[in-house]
Symmetry: C2
């Protein structure tokens, strides 16, 4: 065979069975080209691409049949239909009543790349009723294989031309390549800037945080003169990722930049009215000039050891623009080339950015429209919090001036040691003298606002995450973020800044819940709640600070004859003894009334947590606590707030409450142990009275914990 | 019955069949309250709300059974489970091994509102093994009915407590209330500001563009002293909608504002170090001061006819804040009140705003946590474009100075008259002397950018919409927006500003497609494409300007012996005759080469349109056109560009091409008629040579058309 024969006007050549109707699939990326009668056209084709060859101008009016000769026969496929063509074409043609109305289009497809220019030929010959020639044309094809590839099934392998590479889908049956935000700091010794704040590759460790991207080319040794190959990304994507090239010598200098540089020089040296119009407005002009100046400065820098090589710079990125031209240069032994790139995310998803970035490989002729495009899509990984139920890897605490928290650190060390978790004592200089590890400086994302000033509610102690839950029929396999806020009807209350709330919402996978924490003076949710891993039930419990439970327990102690036992013995507050008996505490009606209101506030959160996390009463444990009004500024804890604990697996580091000593032991400690030990937990009480409690914080506020990340893959979260 | 009896420690009272497992439903909004042994608590309950009554502190240690007595029996329902309770409760209780570990919670639910305070009583009585009292408590209930309602099934009726009112769902089986952006101008005679730029009700016409919202209350004549009822919305929502109250006397003055006003005065008159701390940071303080000053100024304005009454102002909105207190005032005849509100959207969805706004009705005690919340959600209607296939309602054209386009208007009038469509001739003064009705001043949305300057591609001629299509398995029942842009690999080309592109994308329902129009000097997609309604096929055709079709047709004319017939006879260009014969035109090899490149550019768009709109060749008609290079600035039409037409149903107003006269008629007109008339279309050629064509525009650029909106409801679009 190797030929495709047909009669015009007949309905199609065949008793062949009809192919099944095509399934929903991406529309074929056909490219229209037009042939002229009697002429030969030389054209570049990309393997996998369809040329929609418009033949309407070839046949003369008396043509009634045609013959299409592909050569070599199995390498170029011709079809009349806009589907994957079979070896022989289907024959069907429209009416010929008007020379122009006939819309004869055939689809040409190359199955393999060329080894030399114009090595594939397709001829189109029309004949009249007597078999005499009635118009012909030739199409000389040079076929290239081009592919831009990413690891879009996240198995570590960069597949060739994965059909899903251009789209991204959430869920267990989804697909798509992933980009990490490269926000650790692999050149820690050199600079404190995290890697996403510079545009250099910080050594081999940096590469492994990046996603591989490969350009594969096969074909004749050269591209025709007017053709070029480019990588590009929309300008807004270039602001949010950086692309490094691992074979930087394949990056061509941007010749357009050089041309424009000359034009700009002309522009800048002429008076405005005489300047050449180069099709740029003033903003574009200014940006371009900025780029040129920067390029120039880079070139002028001495290439010493301290200067990053040009090869180490982003080839696309915030400072490098959104387009780069690649050299077409195949290995002459096998006519192939493989260029490797490394891509890093620079921004987490946010309100203005859903996290998806695309990169396109383009084969272009001259200045005009692309003739082939291959696009890959990445989703930037969201910022994910780890709940207390995940195994701890490291614990952190700050060293304070003059050893102020030395004994605290020693007691904490006993807990971390029991838990088998390294304790990192952060020296003062790194921590800027801040005792609060849950404070503004910890964590690796900073959001600024032009219109709002940060307040206490923007701290990380006000940002927690639940264990995995199911609520209202929806699964949250990575849990839900919990943030504290003002009451909804309080127009002037403190809320976490909108930029922070919007950022958290934009991560999608841990859909945030807003709690009410503005009733507290400091205003952090970790002052009234925490989660612990636990035997039975859902595998965790929510601990809530409970004035009600505290009064009930103290009342029971009183009823058992312990009314005159003091709490807080030997402790001081504002220079005075803090000691107070059970009876005295129960008689303080002002404190009791205040706590009734605080209990209502906690109960509002309890009810919301039950709804939004799908919890029942059985999932909640009330931990005795008392709050006091801090001179009208809201509630502060009256004694060390036990829910503000550090959770290291089954080992809990709990603020020591200094309750009444009954039978030789602190009754509050005994009571809490009686609640938590049956769940498989080990309770360790740490004295934070002077080092944290009096400064309105506790153990949790003074520590931070690095945890094992979720095994669950964030991209499996249903949209 | 009327009593709920049970034994502690037994597994539950019953051989009763288990209820079927509950279906997925929103979690019950239970509110936790706590009772104390021997005490009576007076509590407000809202009909439909569950009180989770914590009894853990009532029973003494020897209690083994309990009795709960609701009164009246059918009006208050008590249950042990967190589900819709049945008339008699299920009996089940946790262990009593520790007085504090027992977690006895019962759910109380009121089925109707009270008529007087404390008219519903529930008593809880525990007994020991010998039937002697072992702890009791009382709960006095006053029940109110409160509901915030919207028309959430969009049938024009504001249902009471529709279960879907608090959520919004896209799609044919979706639900949710809708908000229009009130951007027409119903007080046109008074001011040119559209209604969403002022905060007054502009008469009855304005109200009908708004969405109704109703607050319904039932209950005793008074609310207990410390309770209040508020409407609130998150601060970011208050920036994007306005709420009017139709009974403005029910809006309470914000007492907090008055209190703060006094504190502020104190603050402002004292030196900084002595100022009272009122819990506000400097930004909040500044905002608050701004509000106070504005309030003061409003109060000081004379209440003349020209001054909007306070009653006509937004009660919530950009200038009115996000919280308002409502007076609780029921009609004493039936103990009910109904307050009506009207809500208007102020902003279309955009990058920072998905279009959803929520309003919450809150019953609050004191300063603290809300005790009842009822939330409604609105989705602001997107900005929707109407394709050429929708019936025209009105056509618009601008009157130019000195009657320059008078004859154009007359010819256009013949078409609009045949189409039965009123032609609105916009006087010069309104149009600021701009002849382009598709220009920057038309349309009702303006987007500004701080960083980009608008360019020609930001005009409305570069913004079109397709008819409804299905592509790649996805339905676009409202079509897809089409915008022109630069080639993706051109770093310095013109693109529509990102704010405009982002705005269009944020409308969701007409997912935009970016075409390549930067090859044109003006750069608008309406220079090479349009859609027309048509018989058969998908009910429409895409018309594409085609140099290839033009050359083929001129070649055919030449072959028929018409080579020496002139085109553009009697027309002038730059003061010279524009006339040129068919032969001369075909011999102009520079023009032909240019047009081959322009054809490639159009073909790139053709291929993309086929893919993104699911079109086939049968859906496309090539309309002869030639372009010429405009001194390096890109392509301009060489003769009047016929695809730049006005489409009024089946009546087309097409730029008159002034082609060669063959058999007494313009051959180009005859040819286009032969293509379009069989599709049921009437072709009317309008001379726009001097009035528009020479200024690089045509009929479409000089007119605009108001069309009948889609019957299809935008909220049915699948997410």
């Amino acid at each position: 065979m190797g030929k495709c024969l047909g009669k015009l006007f007949d309905g199609g050549a065949s008793g062949e069975p009809k192919p099944p109707p095509p399934k929903q699939k991406p529309a074929v990326k056909a490219r229209t080209i037009r042939l002229t009668r009697g002429a030969s056209r030389s054209e570049v084709i990309v393997v996998g691409q369809y040329l929609a060859v418009d033949l309407s101008n070839i046949a003369s009016d008396d043509a009634v049949s045609y013959e299409i000769t592909p050569y070599p026969k199995d390498d170029v496929i011709v079809s009349m239909k806009d589907e994957r063509p079979r070896a022989t074409g289907n024959v069907a043609a429209g009416g010929m009543d008007s020379a122009l109305a006939k819309k004869m289009v055939v689809y040409v497809y190359a199955r393999s790349h060329s080894v030399e220019k114009d090595d594939k030929l397709v001829t189109f010959e029309f004949s009249d009723a007597n078999g005499r020639p009635a118009g012909q044309a030739e199409l000389s094809l040079t076929a290239y294989f081009l592919s831009l590839d990413v690891d879009c099934d996240r198995d570590g392998v960069v597949e060739v031309n994965n059909p899903h590479k251009g789209t991204w889908e959430w869920g267990p049956r989804g697909h798509g390549a992933v980009l990490l935000v490269n926000n650790d700091n692999d050149d820690f010794e050199g600079t404190f800037d995290p890697d996403n704040k510079n545009s250099r590759i910080d050594g081999p460790l940096d590469i492994k945080d990046m996603s591989p991207m490969v350009v594969r080319m096969r074909g004749p040794p050269k591209l025709p003169a007017e053709y070029s190959i480019r990588l590009s990304t929309p300008p807004e994507c270039a602001e949010r990722m950086g692309v490094f090239c691992l074979q930087p010598d394949v990056i061509k200098n941007d010749r357009r930049l050089e041309d424009l540089s000359n034009m700009l020089n002309e522009f800048l040296t002429k008076p405005t009215e005489e300047a050449p119009d180069i099709g740029l407005n003033h903003v574009e002009m200014r940006d371009l000039m900025g780029n040129l100046i920067e390029e120039k400065e880079k070139d002028e820098q001495p290439k010493g050891e301290d200067t990053p090589l040009k090869s180490e710079n982003h080839v696309m990125g915030p400072d490098s623009g959104n387009v780069v031209e690649l050299d077409y240069r195949v290995d002459l032994r096998d006519n192939t080339a493989t260029y490797e790139f490394a891509v890093e995310g620079l921004h987490y998803p946010d309100t203005m950015f859903d996290g998806q970035v695309s990169i396109t490989l383009t084969l272009q002729r001259g200045r005009g429209s692309p003739i082939y495009e291959d696009t890959v899509v990445f989703q930037v990984a969201p910022w994910i919090m780890t709940p207390n139920t995940l195994p701890p890897l490291e614990a952190f605490v700050c060293e304070m001036e003059g050893g102020e928290n030395l004994s605290f650190i020693q007691e904490l060390q006993e807990v971390t040691s029991a838990a088998g978790v390294p304790l990192v004592i952060v020296p003062q200089v790194v921590n800027r003298g801040d005792r609060w590890m849950q404070g503004k400086d910890f964590g690796y994302v900073t959001r600024f606002s032009r219109t709002e000033e940060p307040n206490s509610l923007d701290s990380f102690g006000n940002l927690e995450v639940s264990p995995p839950v199911t609520a209202n029929g929806k699964k949250y396999p990575l849990g839900r973020i919990l943030i504290g806020s003002t009451s909804p009807t309080n127009q002037y209350g403190r809320r976490m800044m909108k930029v922070v709330r919007s950022f958290l919402k934009a991560q999608r996978v841990q859909s945030p819940v807003e709690l009410y924490s503005d009733w507290l003076a400091v205003g952090h949710i970790d002052e009234f709640m925490t989660f612990i891993p636990a035997r039975g039930g859902k595998g965790f419990r929510l601990l809530l600070a409970s004035p009600d439970a505290c009064y009930a327990y103290l009342g029971w102690l009183q009823s058992q004859g312990h009314g005159n036992v003091p709490l807080f013995e030997g402790k001081e507050r504002y220079g005075f003894s803090a000691a107070v008996t059970v009876d005295q505490l129960l008689q303080d009606s002002k404190l009791r009334e205040e706590n009734q209101v605080f209990q209502d506030d906690i109960d509002w959160n309890r009810d919301k947590l039950k709804r939004e996390l799908g919890l029942t009463e059985g999932d909640i444990i009330d931990i005795p606590a008392l709050f006091k009004d801090e001179e009208g500024k809201g509630a502060g804890s009256f004694f060390p707030d036990m829910v503000n604990m550090i959770v290291l697996g089954r080992h809990l580091g709990i603020p020591k409450p200094f309750g009444p000593i009954v039978d030789g032991a602190c009754a509050l400690e005994s009571y809490v142990k009686s609640l938590l030990q049956p769940l498989g937990l080990s309770c360790n009480f740490i004295d934070d009275w002077s080092s944290y409690h009096l400064m309105m914080g506790e153990v949790h506020c003074g520590t931070n914990t690095l945890r094992k990340p979720f095994n669950y893959k964030w991209w499996h979260v249903e949209p």
